[in-house]
Protein backbone atom coordinates (compact mmCIF):
# COMPACT_ATOMS: atom_id res chain seq x y z
CA UNK A 1 0.00 0.00 0.00
CA UNK A 2 1.25 3.46 -0.90
CA UNK A 3 2.40 5.66 2.00
CA UNK A 4 -0.02 8.51 2.77
CA UNK A 5 0.97 12.00 1.62
CA UNK A 6 0.45 13.35 5.12
CA UNK A 7 0.81 11.38 8.33
CA UNK A 8 0.28 13.27 11.61
CA UNK A 9 0.75 11.65 15.02
CA UNK A 10 -0.09 13.18 18.42
CA UNK A 11 0.41 16.73 17.18
CA UNK A 12 0.50 19.23 20.03
CA UNK A 13 0.91 22.99 19.68
CA UNK A 14 1.08 25.18 22.77
CA UNK A 15 0.91 28.97 22.88
CA UNK A 16 1.86 30.99 25.92
CA UNK A 17 -0.75 33.71 26.32
CA UNK A 18 0.53 35.65 29.30
CA UNK A 19 0.09 33.38 32.33
CA UNK A 20 -2.07 30.89 30.45
CA UNK A 21 -0.98 28.09 28.18
CA UNK A 22 -3.35 27.55 25.26
CA UNK A 23 -3.54 24.13 23.62
CA UNK A 24 -4.08 25.14 20.00
CA UNK A 25 -3.56 21.48 19.10
CA UNK A 26 -4.07 18.92 21.84
CA UNK A 27 -2.99 15.65 20.27
CA UNK A 28 -4.10 15.36 16.67
CA UNK A 29 -3.70 12.21 14.61
CA UNK A 30 -4.74 11.73 10.99
CA UNK A 31 -3.56 10.65 7.57
CA UNK A 32 -4.30 12.12 4.17
CA UNK A 33 -3.72 9.99 1.09
CA UNK A 34 -2.42 11.24 -2.24
CA UNK A 35 -5.27 12.36 -4.46
CA UNK A 36 -7.54 13.12 -1.52
CA UNK A 37 -9.71 16.26 -1.32
CA UNK A 38 -10.17 17.06 2.32
CA UNK A 39 -11.89 19.91 4.18
CA UNK A 40 -10.82 20.88 7.68
CA UNK A 41 -13.70 22.65 9.43
CA UNK A 42 -14.34 24.10 12.83
CA UNK A 43 -15.22 27.37 14.57
CA UNK A 44 -12.54 29.97 15.20
CA UNK A 45 -10.27 28.86 18.01
CA UNK A 46 -10.70 25.22 17.12
CA UNK A 47 -7.09 24.91 16.03
CA UNK A 48 -7.71 24.58 12.31
CA UNK A 49 -5.56 27.62 11.42
CA UNK A 50 -2.71 26.30 13.54
CA UNK A 51 -3.02 22.95 11.79
CA UNK A 52 -2.99 24.65 8.41
CA UNK A 53 0.18 26.62 9.31
CA UNK A 54 1.91 23.36 10.27
CA UNK A 55 0.67 21.59 7.13
CA UNK A 56 2.03 24.50 5.06
CA UNK A 57 5.46 24.41 6.69
CA UNK A 58 4.97 27.88 8.16
CA UNK A 59 5.03 26.64 11.74
CA UNK A 60 6.31 23.64 13.70
CA UNK A 61 4.42 21.53 16.27
CA UNK A 62 5.47 21.72 19.93
CA UNK A 63 5.50 17.93 20.04
CA UNK A 64 4.34 15.02 17.93
CA UNK A 65 5.38 14.16 14.44
CA UNK A 66 4.08 15.13 11.02
CA UNK A 67 5.52 13.80 7.81
CA UNK A 68 4.46 15.40 4.53
CA UNK A 69 5.65 13.89 1.26
CA UNK A 70 8.51 12.23 3.12
CA UNK A 71 9.62 15.36 5.02
CA UNK A 72 9.48 15.45 8.81
CA UNK A 73 8.41 19.07 9.39
CA UNK A 74 9.85 19.23 12.94
CA UNK A 75 13.29 18.22 11.69
CA UNK A 76 13.58 20.89 8.97
CA UNK A 77 15.68 24.05 9.37
CA UNK A 78 14.23 27.44 8.39
CA UNK A 79 15.95 27.23 5.04
CA UNK A 80 14.73 23.67 4.41
CA UNK A 81 11.22 24.79 5.36
CA UNK A 82 11.41 27.52 2.72
CA UNK A 83 12.41 24.95 0.13
CA UNK A 84 9.65 22.63 1.38
CA UNK A 85 7.04 25.38 0.98
CA UNK A 86 8.38 26.14 -2.46
CA UNK A 87 8.39 22.56 -3.78
CA UNK A 88 5.70 20.74 -1.82
CA UNK A 89 2.97 23.26 -0.97
CA UNK A 90 0.78 25.47 -3.13
CA UNK A 91 -0.98 28.11 -1.04
CA UNK A 92 -4.35 29.65 -1.86
CA UNK A 93 -5.39 32.47 0.49
CA UNK A 94 -8.74 34.05 1.34
CA UNK A 95 -7.49 37.48 0.26
CA UNK A 96 -5.67 36.16 -2.87
CA UNK A 97 -2.36 37.82 -1.87
CA UNK A 98 -1.31 38.73 -5.38
CA UNK A 99 1.49 41.30 -5.69
CA UNK A 100 -0.17 44.40 -7.17
CA UNK A 101 2.91 45.60 -9.07
CA UNK A 102 3.28 42.37 -11.04
CA UNK A 103 1.09 41.20 -13.90
CA UNK A 104 -1.11 38.11 -13.42
CA UNK A 105 1.42 36.03 -15.37
CA UNK A 106 4.35 37.32 -13.30
CA UNK A 107 2.44 36.47 -10.11
CA UNK A 108 2.10 32.90 -11.33
CA UNK A 109 5.83 32.82 -12.07
CA UNK A 110 6.77 33.97 -8.56
CA UNK A 111 7.21 30.55 -6.84
CA UNK A 112 9.22 29.32 -9.82
CA UNK A 113 11.51 32.37 -9.47
CA UNK A 114 12.36 31.23 -5.95
CA UNK A 115 12.91 27.72 -7.32
CA UNK A 116 15.50 29.22 -9.67
CA UNK A 117 13.76 27.97 -12.80
CA UNK A 118 14.91 29.05 -16.22
CA UNK A 119 12.98 32.19 -17.34
CA UNK A 120 11.84 30.79 -20.68
CA UNK A 121 10.65 27.49 -19.24
CA UNK A 122 9.05 29.35 -16.34
CA UNK A 123 7.09 31.66 -18.59
CA UNK A 124 5.83 28.80 -20.72
CA UNK A 125 4.67 26.88 -17.65
CA UNK A 126 2.94 29.98 -16.21
CA UNK A 127 1.17 30.59 -19.52
CA UNK A 128 -0.06 26.99 -19.54
CA UNK A 129 -1.39 27.36 -16.00
CA UNK A 130 -3.15 30.65 -16.79
CA UNK A 131 -4.92 28.88 -19.66
CA UNK A 132 -5.75 25.96 -17.39
CA UNK A 133 -7.62 28.25 -14.95
CA UNK A 134 -9.42 29.93 -17.85
CA UNK A 135 -7.48 33.23 -17.92
CA UNK A 136 -5.49 32.74 -21.11
CA UNK A 137 -6.64 36.16 -22.34
CA UNK A 138 -5.74 38.07 -19.16
CA UNK A 139 -2.11 37.21 -18.59
CA UNK A 140 -0.79 40.77 -18.88
CA UNK A 141 -3.43 42.28 -16.59
CA UNK A 142 -2.53 43.66 -13.20
CA UNK A 143 -4.43 42.09 -10.26
CA UNK A 144 -6.40 45.32 -9.74
CA UNK A 145 -7.76 44.99 -13.29
CA UNK A 146 -9.24 41.57 -12.49
CA UNK A 147 -12.43 40.58 -10.63
CA UNK A 148 -12.23 38.75 -7.30
CA UNK A 149 -12.95 35.40 -8.91
CA UNK A 150 -10.32 36.01 -11.58
CA UNK A 151 -7.79 37.02 -8.94
CA UNK A 152 -8.44 33.79 -7.05
CA UNK A 153 -7.96 31.84 -10.29
CA UNK A 154 -4.58 33.54 -10.73
CA UNK A 155 -3.76 32.57 -7.14
CA UNK A 156 -4.74 28.96 -7.87
CA UNK A 157 -2.55 28.97 -10.99
CA UNK A 158 0.27 30.27 -8.80
CA UNK A 159 -0.39 27.47 -6.26
CA UNK A 160 -0.13 24.91 -9.08
CA UNK A 161 3.18 26.31 -10.34
CA UNK A 162 6.00 23.91 -9.58
CA UNK A 163 3.62 20.93 -9.34
CA UNK A 164 3.38 20.84 -5.53
CA UNK A 165 2.29 17.64 -3.77
CA UNK A 166 -0.35 19.50 -1.79
CA UNK A 167 -2.68 22.43 -2.54
CA UNK A 168 -3.47 24.15 0.75
CA UNK A 169 -6.42 26.57 0.59
CA UNK A 170 -7.39 28.84 3.49
CA UNK A 171 -11.05 29.99 3.13
CA UNK A 172 -10.61 30.27 -0.65
CA UNK A 173 -14.19 31.44 -1.21
CA UNK A 174 -14.36 33.70 1.86
CA UNK A 175 -13.92 36.90 -0.12
CA UNK A 176 -16.11 35.89 -3.06
CA UNK A 177 -19.84 36.00 -3.76
CA UNK A 178 -21.74 32.71 -3.76
CA UNK A 179 -21.68 32.06 -7.53
CA UNK A 180 -18.03 32.92 -7.95
CA UNK A 181 -17.29 30.79 -4.89
CA UNK A 182 -19.02 27.85 -6.54
CA UNK A 183 -16.95 28.30 -9.68
CA UNK A 184 -13.76 28.26 -7.62
CA UNK A 185 -14.90 25.09 -5.81
CA UNK A 186 -15.71 23.52 -9.19
CA UNK A 187 -12.17 24.32 -10.30
CA UNK A 188 -10.81 22.61 -7.19
CA UNK A 189 -12.92 19.50 -7.94
CA UNK A 190 -11.59 19.40 -11.50
CA UNK A 191 -8.00 19.75 -10.31
CA UNK A 192 -8.61 16.97 -7.79
CA UNK A 193 -9.94 14.72 -10.55
CA UNK A 194 -6.74 15.47 -12.47
CA UNK A 195 -4.81 14.12 -9.51
CA UNK A 196 -4.07 17.08 -7.20
CA UNK A 197 -4.25 16.51 -3.45
CA UNK A 198 -6.23 19.38 -1.92
CA UNK A 199 -6.80 20.49 1.67
CA UNK A 200 -9.29 23.30 2.27
CA UNK A 201 -9.54 24.99 5.65
CA UNK A 202 -12.94 26.63 6.16
CA UNK A 203 -15.67 27.35 8.66
CA UNK A 204 -18.29 27.15 5.88
CA UNK A 205 -19.98 23.75 5.86
CA UNK A 206 -21.22 24.23 2.28
CA UNK A 207 -17.65 24.66 1.13
CA UNK A 208 -16.65 21.61 3.14
CA UNK A 209 -19.40 19.61 1.44
CA UNK A 210 -17.63 20.07 -1.90
CA UNK A 211 -14.72 17.99 -0.62
CA UNK A 212 -14.54 14.20 -0.51
CA UNK A 213 -13.80 14.13 3.19
CA UNK A 214 -14.40 16.40 6.19
CA UNK A 215 -12.25 16.64 9.30
CA UNK A 216 -14.03 18.63 12.01
CA UNK A 217 -12.03 20.21 14.79
CA UNK A 218 -12.99 21.64 18.16
CA UNK A 219 -10.75 22.83 20.99
CA UNK A 220 -7.63 21.51 19.38
CA UNK A 221 -8.91 18.00 18.73
CA UNK A 222 -10.48 16.15 15.81
CA UNK A 223 -14.07 15.48 16.75
CA UNK A 224 -15.26 14.03 13.47
CA UNK A 225 -13.54 12.57 10.40
CA UNK A 226 -15.94 11.35 7.73
CA UNK A 227 -16.21 10.69 4.03
CA UNK A 228 -18.79 13.01 2.50
CA UNK A 229 -21.80 11.08 1.17
CA UNK A 230 -22.93 13.54 -1.46
CA UNK A 231 -20.44 15.37 -3.66
CA UNK A 232 -21.32 18.82 -4.82
CA UNK A 233 -21.15 19.38 -8.53
Amino acid sequence: MEAPLIAANDLVKLYEMGEETVHALAGVRFEIARGDYCAIVGPSGSGKSTLMNILGGLDKPTSGRIVIDGSDISALSDEELATFRNRTIGFVFQSFNLLPRLSALENVELPMIYAGKDPVERRALAQGLMKRVGLGERMGHKPTQLSGGQQQRVAIARALAGRPALILADEPTGALDTNTGKEILALFSELNKEGATIVIVTHDLEVAAAAKRTIEMRDGRIVRDQVNAVRAA
Binding site: N53, G56, L58, D59, D78, E79, A82, T83, R85, N86, R87, F91, F93, N97, L99, R101, L102, L110, P111, I113, Y114, A115, G116, P119, R158
Partner: protein
Protein backbone atom coordinates in the same frame (compact mmCIF):
# COMPACT_ATOMS: atom_id res chain seq x y z
CA UNK B 1 18.23 29.29 -5.39
CA UNK B 2 16.99 32.52 -6.88
CA UNK B 3 18.66 33.69 -10.10
CA UNK B 4 20.67 36.94 -9.88
CA UNK B 5 18.80 38.48 -12.82
CA UNK B 6 15.49 37.83 -11.03
CA UNK B 7 16.87 39.35 -7.84
CA UNK B 8 17.90 42.51 -9.69
CA UNK B 9 14.55 42.69 -11.52
CA UNK B 10 12.66 42.31 -8.23
CA UNK B 11 14.64 45.08 -6.51
CA UNK B 12 14.37 47.39 -9.54
CA UNK B 13 10.63 46.78 -9.74
CA UNK B 14 10.21 47.78 -6.10
CA UNK B 15 12.22 50.98 -6.58
CA UNK B 16 10.32 51.89 -9.75
CA UNK B 17 6.97 51.47 -8.05
CA UNK B 18 7.60 54.59 -5.97
CA UNK B 19 9.89 56.79 -8.05
CA UNK B 20 9.46 59.98 -6.04
CA UNK B 21 10.35 58.28 -2.81
CA UNK B 22 13.33 56.54 -4.40
CA UNK B 23 14.56 59.86 -5.81
CA UNK B 24 14.20 61.67 -2.49
CA UNK B 25 15.97 58.87 -0.67
CA UNK B 26 18.85 58.95 -3.13
CA UNK B 27 19.00 62.76 -2.82
CA UNK B 28 20.75 62.51 0.55
CA UNK B 29 23.52 60.47 -1.01
CA UNK B 30 23.59 62.67 -4.12
CA UNK B 31 24.26 65.75 -1.98
CA UNK B 32 26.79 63.89 0.16
CA UNK B 33 28.84 62.54 -2.73
CA UNK B 34 28.58 65.79 -4.71
CA UNK B 35 29.96 67.81 -1.80
CA UNK B 36 32.74 65.32 -1.10
CA UNK B 37 33.82 65.36 -4.75
CA UNK B 38 33.57 69.15 -5.05
CA UNK B 39 35.40 69.83 -1.78
CA UNK B 40 38.21 67.38 -2.50
CA UNK B 41 38.65 68.93 -5.94
CA UNK B 42 38.70 72.41 -4.40
CA UNK B 43 41.30 71.32 -1.82
CA UNK B 44 43.43 69.59 -4.46
CA UNK B 45 43.20 72.72 -6.62
CA UNK B 46 44.44 74.88 -3.77
CA UNK B 47 47.24 72.39 -3.16
CA UNK B 48 48.26 72.39 -6.80
CA UNK B 49 48.24 76.18 -6.86
CA UNK B 50 50.45 76.46 -3.78
CA UNK B 51 52.98 73.97 -5.12
CA UNK B 52 52.98 75.54 -8.52
CA UNK B 53 53.72 78.99 -7.13
CA UNK B 54 56.37 77.78 -4.70
CA UNK B 55 58.21 75.98 -7.46
CA UNK B 56 58.07 79.19 -9.52
CA UNK B 57 60.55 80.66 -6.99
CA UNK B 58 63.13 78.39 -8.56
CA UNK B 59 63.67 74.69 -8.84
CA UNK B 60 66.43 72.70 -7.09
CA UNK B 61 67.11 75.84 -5.15
CA UNK B 62 68.83 76.41 -1.81
CA UNK B 63 68.40 79.81 -0.24
CA UNK B 64 70.92 80.72 2.44
CA UNK B 65 70.02 83.55 4.76
CA UNK B 66 71.85 84.94 7.78
CA UNK B 67 70.72 84.11 11.31
CA UNK B 68 70.02 80.91 13.14
CA UNK B 69 67.20 78.72 12.06
CA UNK B 70 64.55 77.76 14.53
CA UNK B 71 63.75 74.11 14.71
CA UNK B 72 62.07 72.70 11.64
CA UNK B 73 63.73 75.01 9.17
CA UNK B 74 60.49 76.72 8.17
CA UNK B 75 61.58 80.11 9.34
CA UNK B 76 61.52 82.35 6.29
CA UNK B 77 63.37 85.47 7.35
CA UNK B 78 66.03 85.78 9.97
CA UNK B 79 66.42 88.84 12.14
CA UNK B 80 67.03 92.20 10.48
CA UNK B 81 70.59 93.19 11.15
CA UNK B 82 72.39 89.88 11.20
CA UNK B 83 75.21 90.08 8.74
CA UNK B 84 76.96 86.77 8.76
CA UNK B 85 76.89 85.97 5.05
CA UNK B 86 79.48 87.40 2.74
CA UNK B 87 80.22 87.52 -0.95
CA UNK B 88 83.26 85.39 -0.18
CA UNK B 89 80.99 82.67 1.22
CA UNK B 90 79.25 82.58 -2.13
CA UNK B 91 82.57 82.46 -3.98
CA UNK B 92 83.71 79.56 -1.79
CA UNK B 93 80.55 77.59 -2.54
CA UNK B 94 80.95 78.20 -6.25
CA UNK B 95 84.62 77.20 -6.14
CA UNK B 96 84.21 74.01 -4.10
CA UNK B 97 81.07 72.34 -5.34
CA UNK B 98 80.64 71.42 -9.01
CA UNK B 99 77.05 70.42 -8.18
CA UNK B 100 76.26 74.09 -7.58
CA UNK B 101 75.15 75.05 -11.07
CA UNK B 102 74.60 78.68 -10.18
CA UNK B 103 75.50 80.69 -7.09
CA UNK B 104 74.31 84.22 -6.62
CA UNK B 105 74.84 86.37 -3.56
CA UNK B 106 72.24 89.09 -3.37
CA UNK B 107 71.30 92.08 -1.29
CA UNK B 108 67.72 93.26 -0.92
CA UNK B 109 66.67 96.80 -0.30
CA UNK B 110 63.48 98.77 -0.55
CA UNK B 111 63.52 102.02 -2.43
CA UNK B 112 61.34 104.64 -4.02
CA UNK B 113 61.64 104.65 -7.80
CA UNK B 114 60.46 107.27 -10.24
CA UNK B 115 60.00 107.15 -14.00
CA UNK B 116 57.86 109.17 -16.35
CA UNK B 117 56.71 111.16 -13.34
CA UNK B 118 55.28 107.99 -11.79
CA UNK B 119 56.24 106.88 -8.28
CA UNK B 120 56.61 103.33 -7.06
CA UNK B 121 57.96 101.72 -3.91
CA UNK B 122 59.56 98.39 -4.62
CA UNK B 123 62.12 95.78 -3.75
CA UNK B 124 65.57 96.29 -5.27
CA UNK B 125 67.53 93.08 -5.55
CA UNK B 126 71.27 93.51 -5.99
CA UNK B 127 72.57 90.30 -7.53
CA UNK B 128 75.08 88.68 -9.81
CA UNK B 129 74.27 87.44 -13.35
CA UNK B 130 73.83 83.90 -11.94
CA UNK B 131 70.68 85.15 -10.21
CA UNK B 132 68.80 84.76 -13.48
CA UNK B 133 69.60 81.02 -13.62
CA UNK B 134 69.35 80.35 -9.88
CA UNK B 135 65.87 81.84 -9.60
CA UNK B 136 64.56 80.55 -12.93
CA UNK B 137 63.89 83.99 -14.39
CA UNK B 138 63.78 84.62 -18.11
CA UNK B 139 64.36 87.91 -19.82
CA UNK B 140 61.45 88.87 -22.02
CA UNK B 141 62.80 92.07 -23.53
CA UNK B 142 66.30 93.46 -23.65
CA UNK B 143 69.02 91.62 -21.72
CA UNK B 144 70.34 90.87 -18.24
CA UNK B 145 73.49 92.62 -16.97
CA UNK B 146 76.82 90.78 -17.31
CA UNK B 147 79.80 90.15 -15.03
CA UNK B 148 81.67 93.21 -16.26
CA UNK B 149 78.73 95.48 -15.50
CA UNK B 150 78.47 93.87 -12.07
CA UNK B 151 82.17 94.39 -11.31
CA UNK B 152 82.03 97.99 -12.46
CA UNK B 153 78.88 98.73 -10.45
CA UNK B 154 77.16 100.11 -13.53
CA UNK B 155 73.85 101.92 -13.17
CA UNK B 156 71.78 99.41 -15.07
CA UNK B 157 68.60 97.63 -13.96
CA UNK B 158 66.37 94.83 -15.12
CA UNK B 159 62.74 95.27 -14.09
CA UNK B 160 59.86 92.91 -13.33
CA UNK B 161 56.64 92.85 -15.32
CA UNK B 162 54.71 94.76 -12.65
CA UNK B 163 57.23 97.63 -12.68
CA UNK B 164 57.15 97.70 -16.46
CA UNK B 165 53.36 97.97 -16.42
CA UNK B 166 53.18 100.55 -13.64
CA UNK B 167 55.99 102.91 -14.61
CA UNK B 168 56.20 102.43 -18.35
CA UNK B 169 52.60 102.03 -19.46
CA UNK B 170 52.16 101.48 -23.20
CA UNK B 171 55.83 101.85 -24.01
CA UNK B 172 59.01 99.81 -24.31
CA UNK B 173 60.95 100.34 -21.05
CA UNK B 174 64.24 99.10 -22.51
CA UNK B 175 66.60 102.04 -22.91
CA UNK B 176 64.51 104.30 -20.69
CA UNK B 177 65.86 105.67 -17.45
CA UNK B 178 64.45 105.60 -13.96
CA UNK B 179 65.48 107.21 -10.68
CA UNK B 180 66.16 105.09 -7.63
CA UNK B 181 66.43 107.27 -4.56
CA UNK B 182 68.40 110.14 -6.14
CA UNK B 183 70.44 108.25 -8.75
CA UNK B 184 69.59 107.70 -12.39
CA UNK B 185 69.60 104.19 -13.88
CA UNK B 186 69.15 102.71 -17.34
CA UNK B 187 66.58 99.97 -17.87
CA UNK B 188 68.28 97.27 -19.96
CA UNK B 189 65.76 94.42 -19.69
CA UNK B 190 62.31 93.27 -18.62
CA UNK B 191 61.77 89.91 -16.87
CA UNK B 192 59.03 87.49 -17.92
CA UNK B 193 56.14 87.41 -15.46
CA UNK B 194 56.07 84.77 -12.69
CA UNK B 195 52.87 85.82 -10.98
CA UNK B 196 52.17 85.53 -7.28
CA UNK B 197 54.36 83.47 -4.99
CA UNK B 198 52.92 80.81 -2.73
CA UNK B 199 52.94 83.36 0.06
CA UNK B 200 50.83 85.91 -1.78
CA UNK B 201 53.68 88.16 -2.86
CA UNK B 202 53.82 89.66 -6.31
CA UNK B 203 57.10 88.25 -7.61
CA UNK B 204 57.07 90.63 -10.56
CA UNK B 205 57.22 93.67 -8.30
CA UNK B 206 61.05 93.72 -8.44
CA UNK B 207 64.00 95.61 -9.77
CA UNK B 208 67.22 93.62 -10.23
CA UNK B 209 70.49 95.55 -10.33
CA UNK B 210 74.14 94.51 -10.10
CA UNK B 211 75.06 93.58 -6.52
CA UNK B 212 77.97 96.05 -6.34
CA UNK B 213 75.71 98.85 -7.57
CA UNK B 214 73.17 98.16 -4.86
CA UNK B 215 75.79 97.78 -2.14
CA UNK B 216 77.51 100.99 -3.07
CA UNK B 217 74.71 103.28 -4.12
CA UNK B 218 71.42 102.08 -2.68
CA UNK B 219 71.80 100.09 0.56
CA UNK B 220 74.61 102.23 1.91
CA UNK B 221 73.49 101.85 5.48
CA UNK B 222 75.15 98.39 5.70
CA UNK B 223 78.25 98.59 7.86
CA UNK B 224 80.31 96.04 5.99
CA UNK B 225 80.71 96.26 2.26
CA UNK B 226 80.93 92.52 1.62
CA UNK B 227 77.88 91.19 3.47
CA UNK B 228 74.79 90.01 1.63
CA UNK B 229 71.24 89.33 2.72
CA UNK B 230 70.93 86.09 0.78
CA UNK B 231 72.81 83.54 -1.28
CA UNK B 232 70.87 81.55 -3.89
CA UNK B 233 72.38 78.21 -4.88
CA UNK B 234 70.95 76.11 -7.66
CA UNK B 235 71.84 72.43 -7.69
CA UNK B 236 72.53 70.63 -10.95
CA UNK B 237 69.63 68.23 -10.28
CA UNK B 238 67.04 67.20 -7.77
CA UNK B 239 69.22 64.23 -6.77
CA UNK B 240 72.27 66.32 -5.89
CA UNK B 241 70.22 68.86 -3.89
CA UNK B 242 70.18 67.14 -0.43
CA UNK B 243 73.90 66.37 -0.62
CA UNK B 244 74.67 69.92 -1.69
CA UNK B 245 72.62 71.26 1.22
CA UNK B 246 74.74 69.23 3.67
CA UNK B 247 78.01 70.23 2.00
CA UNK B 248 77.10 73.92 1.93
CA UNK B 249 76.13 73.82 5.60
CA UNK B 250 79.39 72.13 6.54
CA UNK B 251 81.47 74.58 4.48
CA UNK B 252 79.77 77.63 5.97
CA UNK B 253 80.19 76.27 9.52
CA UNK B 254 83.95 75.93 8.84
CA UNK B 255 84.22 79.37 7.28
CA UNK B 256 82.26 80.95 10.13
CA UNK B 257 84.32 79.02 12.69
CA UNK B 258 81.37 77.51 14.43
CA UNK B 259 82.33 74.94 17.06
CA UNK B 260 80.81 71.47 16.88
CA UNK B 261 77.55 71.46 18.81
CA UNK B 262 77.01 75.22 18.50
CA UNK B 263 74.10 76.59 16.44
CA UNK B 264 74.55 77.73 12.86
CA UNK B 265 74.59 81.50 12.35
CA UNK B 266 72.90 81.05 8.99
CA UNK B 267 69.99 79.05 7.61
CA UNK B 268 69.95 76.90 4.49
CA UNK B 269 66.41 76.67 3.17
CA UNK B 270 65.56 73.91 0.80
CA UNK B 271 62.60 74.99 -1.33
CA UNK B 272 61.46 71.44 -1.93
CA UNK B 273 61.07 70.91 1.81
CA UNK B 274 59.09 74.15 2.01
CA UNK B 275 56.95 72.91 -0.85
CA UNK B 276 56.39 69.69 1.04
CA UNK B 277 55.42 71.47 4.24
CA UNK B 278 53.02 73.76 2.41
CA UNK B 279 51.65 70.73 0.54
CA UNK B 280 50.98 68.99 3.82
CA UNK B 281 49.17 72.02 5.18
CA UNK B 282 46.85 72.18 2.18
CA UNK B 283 46.40 68.41 2.33
CA UNK B 284 45.09 68.76 5.87
CA UNK B 285 42.75 71.45 4.56
CA UNK B 286 41.53 69.02 1.88
CA UNK B 287 40.91 66.28 4.44
CA UNK B 288 39.01 68.74 6.61
CA UNK B 289 36.72 69.73 3.73
CA UNK B 290 36.21 66.08 2.74
CA UNK B 291 35.49 65.15 6.35
CA UNK B 292 32.80 67.79 6.72
CA UNK B 293 31.23 66.66 3.45
CA UNK B 294 31.37 63.04 4.57
CA UNK B 295 29.04 63.97 7.41
CA UNK B 296 26.36 64.84 4.86
CA UNK B 297 26.96 61.48 3.20
CA UNK B 298 26.40 59.85 6.58
CA UNK B 299 23.13 61.74 6.97
CA UNK B 300 22.17 60.49 3.49
CA UNK B 301 22.85 56.94 4.67
CA UNK B 302 20.60 57.40 7.68
CA UNK B 303 17.91 58.66 5.28
CA UNK B 304 18.21 55.40 3.34
CA UNK B 305 17.85 53.36 6.52
CA UNK B 306 14.80 55.37 7.54
CA UNK B 307 13.02 54.88 4.22
CA UNK B 308 13.96 51.21 3.99
CA UNK B 309 12.50 50.60 7.47
CA UNK B 310 9.27 52.30 6.40
CA UNK B 311 9.30 50.23 3.23
CA UNK B 312 9.73 46.97 5.16
CA UNK B 313 6.79 47.86 7.41
CA UNK B 314 4.60 48.77 4.44
CA UNK B 315 5.47 45.61 2.58
CA UNK B 316 5.07 43.20 5.48
CA UNK B 317 2.36 41.23 3.65
CA UNK B 318 4.43 41.06 0.51
CA UNK B 319 7.36 39.70 2.51
CA UNK B 320 5.08 37.15 4.21
CA UNK B 321 3.72 36.03 0.87
CA UNK B 322 7.16 35.72 -0.68
CA UNK B 323 8.25 33.58 2.25
CA UNK B 324 5.13 31.39 1.98
CA UNK B 325 5.92 30.87 -1.70
CA UNK B 326 9.40 29.66 -0.87
CA UNK B 327 11.64 32.73 -0.50
CA UNK B 328 14.42 31.94 1.95
CA UNK B 329 15.70 34.47 4.49
CA UNK B 330 18.74 35.01 2.29
CA UNK B 331 16.50 35.85 -0.70
CA UNK B 332 14.61 38.52 1.27
CA UNK B 333 17.84 39.85 2.77
CA UNK B 334 19.38 40.19 -0.67
CA UNK B 335 16.32 41.81 -2.19
CA UNK B 336 16.09 44.59 0.41
CA UNK B 337 19.86 44.93 0.65
CA UNK B 338 20.08 45.36 -3.10
CA UNK B 339 17.35 48.00 -3.04
CA UNK B 340 19.35 50.03 -0.51
CA UNK B 341 22.64 49.60 -2.38
CA UNK B 342 21.01 50.50 -5.70
CA UNK B 343 19.64 53.70 -4.18
CA UNK B 344 22.99 54.67 -2.71
CA UNK B 345 25.12 53.78 -5.74
CA UNK B 346 22.71 55.52 -8.14
CA UNK B 347 22.85 58.48 -5.76
CA UNK B 348 26.61 58.24 -5.78
CA UNK B 349 26.85 58.30 -9.58
CA UNK B 350 24.47 61.26 -9.90
CA UNK B 351 26.29 62.95 -7.03
CA UNK B 352 29.58 62.46 -8.87
CA UNK B 353 28.23 64.32 -11.89
CA UNK B 354 26.99 67.21 -9.73
CA UNK B 355 30.22 67.12 -7.74
CA UNK B 356 32.33 67.52 -10.88
CA UNK B 357 30.10 70.38 -12.05
CA UNK B 358 30.36 71.97 -8.61
CA UNK B 359 34.13 71.54 -8.57
CA UNK B 360 34.35 73.17 -11.97
CA UNK B 361 32.23 76.11 -10.80
CA UNK B 362 34.10 76.59 -7.51
CA UNK B 363 37.59 76.38 -8.99
CA UNK B 364 36.59 78.73 -11.79
CA UNK B 365 35.28 81.22 -9.22
CA UNK B 366 38.35 80.87 -7.01
CA UNK B 367 40.67 80.89 -10.05
CA UNK B 368 42.25 77.58 -9.07
CA UNK B 369 43.34 74.73 -11.33
CA UNK B 370 40.65 72.02 -11.62
CA UNK B 371 42.19 68.82 -10.25
CA UNK B 372 39.95 65.75 -10.59
CA UNK B 373 41.43 62.43 -9.66
CA UNK B 374 39.75 59.17 -10.73
CA UNK B 375 40.80 57.75 -7.37
CA UNK B 376 38.67 60.29 -5.51
CA UNK B 377 35.71 59.56 -7.79
CA UNK B 378 36.09 55.82 -7.22
CA UNK B 379 36.40 56.48 -3.51
CA UNK B 380 33.19 58.51 -3.44
CA UNK B 381 31.28 55.79 -5.30
CA UNK B 382 32.79 53.06 -3.17
CA UNK B 383 31.92 54.96 -0.02
CA UNK B 384 28.33 55.44 -1.13
CA UNK B 385 28.01 51.71 -1.84
CA UNK B 386 29.44 51.11 1.62
CA UNK B 387 26.85 53.50 3.10
CA UNK B 388 24.10 51.58 1.28
CA UNK B 389 25.33 48.25 2.64
CA UNK B 390 25.75 49.50 6.19
CA UNK B 391 22.46 51.37 6.43
CA UNK B 392 20.51 48.90 4.29
CA UNK B 393 21.64 45.90 6.33
CA UNK B 394 19.42 46.46 9.37
CA UNK B 395 16.13 47.01 7.46
CA UNK B 396 16.92 44.03 5.21
CA UNK B 397 17.66 41.88 8.25
CA UNK B 398 14.37 42.96 9.81
CA UNK B 399 12.55 41.97 6.62
CA UNK B 400 14.29 38.59 6.48
CA UNK B 401 13.39 37.83 10.11
CA UNK B 402 9.65 38.46 9.66
CA UNK B 403 7.45 35.54 10.68
CA UNK B 404 5.38 34.65 7.59
CA UNK B 405 2.30 33.76 9.63
CA UNK B 406 2.29 37.15 11.38
CA UNK B 407 3.19 38.93 8.16
CA UNK B 408 0.33 37.36 6.20
CA UNK B 409 -2.17 38.17 8.93
CA UNK B 410 -1.27 41.87 8.77
CA UNK B 411 -3.77 43.97 6.87
Amino acid sequence: MMRTADLVATAANALRSNPLRSALTALGVIIGVASVVAMVALGSGAQARVQQSISSLGSNLLIIVPGASQSGGMRMAAGGDTQTLTIDDAEAIRAQFPDAAAVSPSQSARAQIVANGLNWNTRIEGATPDYLIARDWTVEQGRFFDDAEERQARRVVVIGATIAAELFPNMDPVGETMRINSGSYEVIGVLASKGQSGFGMDQDDIVVAPLSTVKRRISGRWRRADTVSQISVKATSEETLPRLQEDVTELLRQRHRIRPGADDDFTVQNLSSITEAAGEATQVFTYLLAGISAVSLLVGGIGIMNIMLVSVTERTREIGLRKALGARQADILRQFGLEAVTLSVAGGLIGLVFGVLGAWGLTTLADLPLVLSPLNAALAIGFSAFVGIVFGAYPAWRAAQLDPIEALRRE
